[in-house]
């Protein structure tokens, strides 16, 4: 690979900066601060970018130009005949960085995201440690081991401490687990084992205590434990142990069945006559109800005290007899009659009749005489009438008909005019005014006619005065007579009317007088009837000892009869039914007693509760029995239990009892000791509680120890592998370089089998420590070049030397320059320095 060109658009303090490279030695001399290091950063950044790492973060900050958010450039190189251009821009964050690769002028993905990785097959760190050579890589402190320096191969000195030191530290750590010497006594693992052994020794002690405690407890548990032990021994001793166990299980199943059967049997046994059916219980309950009802009926039949008292009173009323039906009917008739009579109103004259009787009784009016007088009077009136007819005619003529008509029409005019004037128009008052005038005129005409009539009358009166006197006398006589009868006549013209009234009233009077006689007779008869009926009723009531009023007595008697009859009926009914009820009660009692006796019932309700409970239990037991039988059969079938094994061994219980008795005697004393043993056990158990943890810790220690051993093993393996890959070839390559240095340095150098550097002086092999720093720098440079040769056997990349000869004196500097020129014959070298004297022209 040959680097051709770099162009920096902007990177660090460089801007639009371009460098072209030749294929051999390229020596650049820039002033201090010009950007020498920046260029080396740029080249590396072109190949590897500025990926996110703390180191790169530092570089990114350092090369980010002031006031710029984007920076970068490109790099051109030739590899295997192709021209590559890597163009990158960088931003504040690597997420915004860009990369474009051109191969022979065309954009390509051939180099991937990290071109350096693809091109050199090195990660960024390895690239730094091989292709980049800094003064630090070539310096060597006085107390440092050159061998260590040479052994670093491609490791950055600032990041690793080297294989030997690492191995030493790991080994030291390993030895904390298992030291090489006295490994059985010291070290974490041995210590832990010892701790475990200590605890385990406690365990045996604990076991001793526990065994001892066990003994105490065994004794303390007396016979039961011993019997159990003996049973267990027996069980164990039997070769048919399994079968016995099965039979034991079978027996348990059978016991279940038997237990259930027993339970069922117990329940059934408590009902020697069988469990009464629900219907029977219901029947007994009904009987009890019937009994109660019969009792209640019996009680209801009997008369109570009030009723008895009442009956006695009634008996008193009806001690002679109870009124017969006829008697009662008769009484009812009489009572009804009496009531009707009492309610019958006496006949009476009307008020008119009474007034007529009062008017005419004892007045002594001679009707015939009055009739004659009236006749006479009529004649006189007739005469007078004839004399006065003319006057009367006149009077008739002067009747004011015309005036009345006129007055009426006038009045109509007045009213119509007034209404129209008010409602329609004032001019319409005029008809009212005309009507009024007409009315005044009519009045005048009427008054004038009246005055003329009066003058005519006075002339006729003087000619008939005699006839009038007679007439007046008779009129007075008739008037007086009629006055006596109550008819007052104020004028002659009333005579005929009053007389006619008189005649009619007299006729009515006579009729009233007749009716007065009839009424009086009827009322007398009524009173007599009432009296008779009352006496009859009183006689009947007295017979039955009632002394109240007729009405009260009647009602009471009827009520009492009904009541009395009811009592009689009831007494009869009682008499008839008492016996049948008593018989029924006796029958029920017999039935119930028979049931109770049969089932030996103390308390029927409790019996019913128990019966229900027993029936439920019986059902459960029967169900479970069914299940238990099925399980029993199944178990027997599954375990093929045909014949029960016979155990011939005999158990000596007495011997065991004696043994237990002996042990019992010791219990009190052992009990005392037991507390002490228990405390010891607790103490030991507390200690032993760590045993599992210690064992776990030992496991962890062993695990860690193996991890460390594995780590050491792999580290050694890696070292060997690295050596195989690089060290020997590097050593050979280095020897070639060193041999070639002889001419340049004027000294023969060499490296022994253990990578120790030496030089030959006066035919003797001398230690490298006598060599100057300058020579050692060149040796180290040769070493780096040897590594490069080894890594890149065919297509070798450029190398970048960052002012690596800063510490060389002039003599050695010249030697170094010569060396570089020589190397650059077959290697592209980019050499940067800031001093002209170190510049290689």
């Amino acid at each position: 690979m040959i680097l051709k060109e770099i162009y920096i658009t902007s990177f660090g303090n460089l801007e639009n900066f371009k460098l072209d490279f030749s294929k051999d030695l390229n020596s650049f001399c820039f002033d201090n601060g010009y950007g020498k290091t920046t260029i080396t950063y740029f080249i590396r950044a072109m190949f590897y970018g500025l990926a996110k790492s703390s180191k790169n973060q530092f570089i990114r900050r350092r090369v980010t130009p002031f006031n710029k958010t984007q920076f970068g450039g490109y790099l051109i190189f030739i590899d295997n005949g192709k021209t590559y251009k890597i163009e990158r821009t960088f931003a504040k964050s690597n997420a915004d960085d860009t990369l474009t690769v051109y191969v022979d002028g065309r954009e390509s993905n051939e180099l991937g995201d990290i071109p350096g990785l693809k091109l050199f097959n090195l990660n960024e760190e390895s690239f730094n440690n091989t292709i980049f050579i800094t003064p630090k890589d070539l310096t060597f402190s006085a107390d440092g081991e050159l061998k260590t320096k040479l052994g670093h191969y491609v490791d950055g000195e600032d990041e690793t401490i080297g294989f030997d030191k690492a191995l030493e530290n790991l080994d030291k750590y390993r030895k904390t687990f298992v030291p090489d010497k006295e490994k059985d006594k010291n070290g974490l693992i041995a210590n832990k084992k010892n701790q475990i052994l200590d605890l385990e020794s406690n365990q045996s002690q604990l076991k001793t205590f526990k065994d001892s405690l066990e003994e105490h407890k065994k004794r303390y548990d007396q016979l039961n434990n011993d019997v159990k032990k003996i049973q267990e021994e027996l069980s164990k001793a039997s070769s048919l142990n399994g079968l016995i166990k099965d039979w034991e299980t079978y027996d348990r199943f059978q016991n279940n069945v038997n237990e259930l059967k027993k339970n069922i049997s117990d329940i059934n046994a408590s009902y020697p006559h069988g469990m009464p059916l629900d219907e029977q219980i219901e029947n007994i309950k009904n009987k009890e109800k019937e009994k109660e009802e019969a009792r209640s009926k019996l009680n209801n039949l009997e008369l109570n005290d009030n009723e008895k008292e009442q009956l006695e009173l009634l008996k008193n009323h009806f001690k002679e007899s109870i009124p017969s039906e006829e008697e009662i009917n008769s009484l009812k008739e009489k009572h009804d009659k009496y009531r009707i009579l009492l309610n019958t109103k006496e006949d009476a004259l009307t008020d008119k009749e009474l007034a007529l009787i009062a008017q005419f009784d004892n007045k002594n009016i001679d009707e015939e005489l009055l009739k004659e007088d009236l006749s006479k009077y009529r004649e006189l009136v007739s005469e007078s009438f004839n004399n006065q007819s003319t006057n009367n005619n006149k009077k008739a003529k002067t009747k004011p008909i015309k005036e009345i008509v006129i007055a009426s029409i006038s009045s109509l005019f007045i009213i119509a005019g007034l209404i129209s004037g008010i409602l329609v128009h004032p001019l319409l008052f005029i008809p009212s005014g005309l009507g009024l005038l007409s009315l005044f005129f009519d009045a005048f005409i009427y008054l004038k006619n009246q005055i003329n009539n009066k003058v005519d009358s006075s002339i006729n009166n003087s000619s008939n005065s005699e006839l009038q006197a007679k007439r007046n006398a008779l009129f007075l006589k008739i008037s007086a007579t009629l006055e006596k009868a109550g008819y007052t006549i104020l004028a002659e013209n009333e005579i005929e009317e009053k007389y006619a009234k008189f005649v009619a009233d007299v006729a009515l009077y006579k009729e009233a007088k007749t009716r007065q006689n009839v009424v009086n007779e009827a009322n007398l008869a009524l009173k007599s009837n009432i009296l008779i009926t009352k006496k009859q009723l009183e006689a009947i009531y007295a017979k039955y000892h009632y002394d109240g009023t007729e009405n009260d007595n009647y009602d009471q008697l009827n009520k009492d009869i009904a009541l009395y009859k009811n009592y009689i009926e009831r007494l009869k009914y009682i008499e008839e039914n008492r016996n049948s009820l008593l018989a029924k009660l006796a029958s029920i009692n017999d039935d119930v007693s028979s049931f109770i006796k049969k089932y030996e019932i103390q308390n029927f309700d409790e019996f019913v509760l128990k019966l229900e409970n027993d029936k439920t239990r019986l059902k459960v037991f029967e169900n479970n029995l069914k299940q238990a039988n099925a399980e029993l059969d199944q178990f027997k079938k599954e375990h093929k239990l045909d014949d029960r094994p016979v155990v011939n061994e005999t158990i000596n219980i007495d011997e065991l009892n004696n043994k237990n008795n002996e042990l019992n005697k010791e219990i009190a004393q052992e009990n005392q000791e037991r507390g002490e043993i228990e405390n010891n056990i607790i103490s030991l158990e507390n200690k032993l509680s760590f045993l599992d943890e210690y064992k776990e810790q030992l496991k962890t220690l062993n695990y860690r120890y193996n991890l460390v051993k594995n780590t050491i093993s792999h580290l050694k393996k890696a070292e060997d592998s690295l050596k195989a890959k690089y060290i020997d070839p590097v050593k050979n390559s280095l020897i070639t370089y060193i041999n070639s240095l002889e001419e340049t340095l004027g000294k023969k150098l060499g490296i022994d089998a253990d990578f120790n550097l030496y030089y030959i002086e006066e035919g003797k092999q001398r230690d490298y420590r006598h060599l100057s720093d300058g020579i050692l720098t060149l040796v180290l440079l040769s070493y780096k070049l040897a590594i490069l040769d080894n890594i890149f056997s065919s297509d070798k990349p450029f190398i970048i030397l960052d002012d690596i000869f800063a510490y060389l004196d002039t003599d050695n500097l010249e030697k170094a320059k010569r060396l570089l020129k020589k190397i650059s014959n077959n290697k592209q070298i980019l050499y940067f320095t800031c001093y002209t004297n170190r510049h290689i022209a």
């Binding site: 990660n123 091989t130 080297g162 690492a166 279940n256 580290l715 890696a718 690295l722």
Partner: protein, 355 residues
């Protein structure tokens, strides 16, 4: 009516060695849990306590533990204790008579709490473990509480309980012991089974809230609820520290994830893939967290983060070493990471150790 269902007190039990520094307090707490249980019963007018096995940690309990237990029973005659032995204490037997202590045998034994409630129990052993299911007869008209001690299992074996075989047996509440964590499930349409769990945790294998079950029977209906009763809970929390770059970062991540309760006991498990360069120490972290809770144990379960691809083109010894480790097919991934991490640390001159 209320009833307490408790189990697995394990009186006289050892405490996990990790809790060594607080083991005495823990032992006392385990023992005191029985006293507190009785106090709870008294304060809540509960006159029946069911103890479903493993009350003692040993078949042959220490005398002082026995004395303690039976003394509390004798001191509380108003409370009836129904003590069914478990696999740990199956040979336990009191030497004296305790009228308020009801015990069970290898056959079904029943006690009527009142006319409506019956408590039945049986101690499972190698002889009856097949047959005890079919010998259980319960009155369907009563509330039936059944006590057993054993492992819920589908297999019929000694100390196992096959719940499905207890279906349609008229059980209303199956009070179980053996599992140290509260658990409940349905037996059939009628009843459920309940493991009350232990009352106090004794190590990091008994984490979470511990307590007992309070059963209540009202108007013929039975119900139950878990009562969290442990004086201290033992809790385990996993904290992923993959993003930590220093020990203070780890502490921050722990404090962010875990809401410590001062009275409780914690195990913090550090997990995740961490940069192999990150150096920290479990004990230092535990020490830094002391005061946040009663006791804190820190367990490092992280793996070093190694990217072998990074070393593919590395010509250095580091590259060669990592490639060598990753090419070793006898190692698993975790070991590869640990070895690579240790070797890299050695090569970089860092402190060489394995956490």
């Amino acid at each position: 009516m209320k009833i307490i269902h408790a189990a697995d007190l394990h009186l006289g039990s050892k405490i996990e060695s990790k809790l060594n520094s607080i083991s005495e307090e823990r032992k006392l707490a385990v023992r005191d849990s029985f006293r507190r249980l009785i106090d709870y019963a008294k304060n809540n007018n509960i006159s029946s306590i069911l103890l479903s096995g493993d009350i003692f940690d040993s078949n042959k309990p220490f005398k002082k533990d026995k004395d303690y237990f039976y003394a509390f029973i004798d001191k509380n005659p108003d409370i009836t204790f129904y003590y069914l032995k478990g696999n740990h204490d199956n040979e336990e037997k009191s030497d004296d008579n305790h009228p308020n202590l009801k015990t069970f045998t290898d056959s079904w034994t029943s006690y009527d709490l009142n006319e409506n409630v019956t408590i039945s129990g049986l101690e499972i052993d190698e002889k009856n473990y097949l047959t005890f299911y079919s010998s259980l007869n319960l009155n369907p008209k009563k509330i039936n509480i059944v006590m057993l001690h054993g492992q819920e299992s589908e297999t019929l074996a000694n100390n196992n309980i096959k719940i499905s075989k207890l279906k349609d047996k008229n059980i209303d509440y199956l009070a179980l012991g053996h599992i140290h964590k509260y658990k409940e499930g349905q037996i059939d349409h009628r009843g459920k089974y309940v493991y009350s769990g232990c009352i106090e945790g004794r190590g990091f294998d008994e984490i979470g809230e511990k307590g007992f079950v309070e059963i209540e029977i009202i108007d013929g209906k039975i119900s139950s609820k878990f009562i969290h009763f442990s004086s201290r809970d033992i809790l385990e929390e996993e904290v992923d520290i993959s993003n930590a770059s220093s020990q203070p970062d780890i502490l921050s991540l722990i404090k962010e994830k875990v809401h410590f309760i001062g009275k409780d006991i914690y195990r913090i498990k550090l997990v995740g893939d961490v940069n192999y360069e990150l150096e920290f120490n479990e004990d230092d972290i535990a020490q830094a967290l002391q005061g946040s809770a009663y006791f804190i144990d820190v367990k490092n379960k992280t793996l070093p983060l190694i990217n072998p691809d990074k070393f593919l083109n590395d010509l250095s010894l580091k590259g060669e070493f990592v490639r060598s480790v990753y090419a070793d097919t006898s190692l698993d991934e975790a070991d590869k990471r640990k070895i690579a991490s240790l070797g890299l640390k050695a090569l970089e001159g860092r402190e060489v150790n394995i956490e």
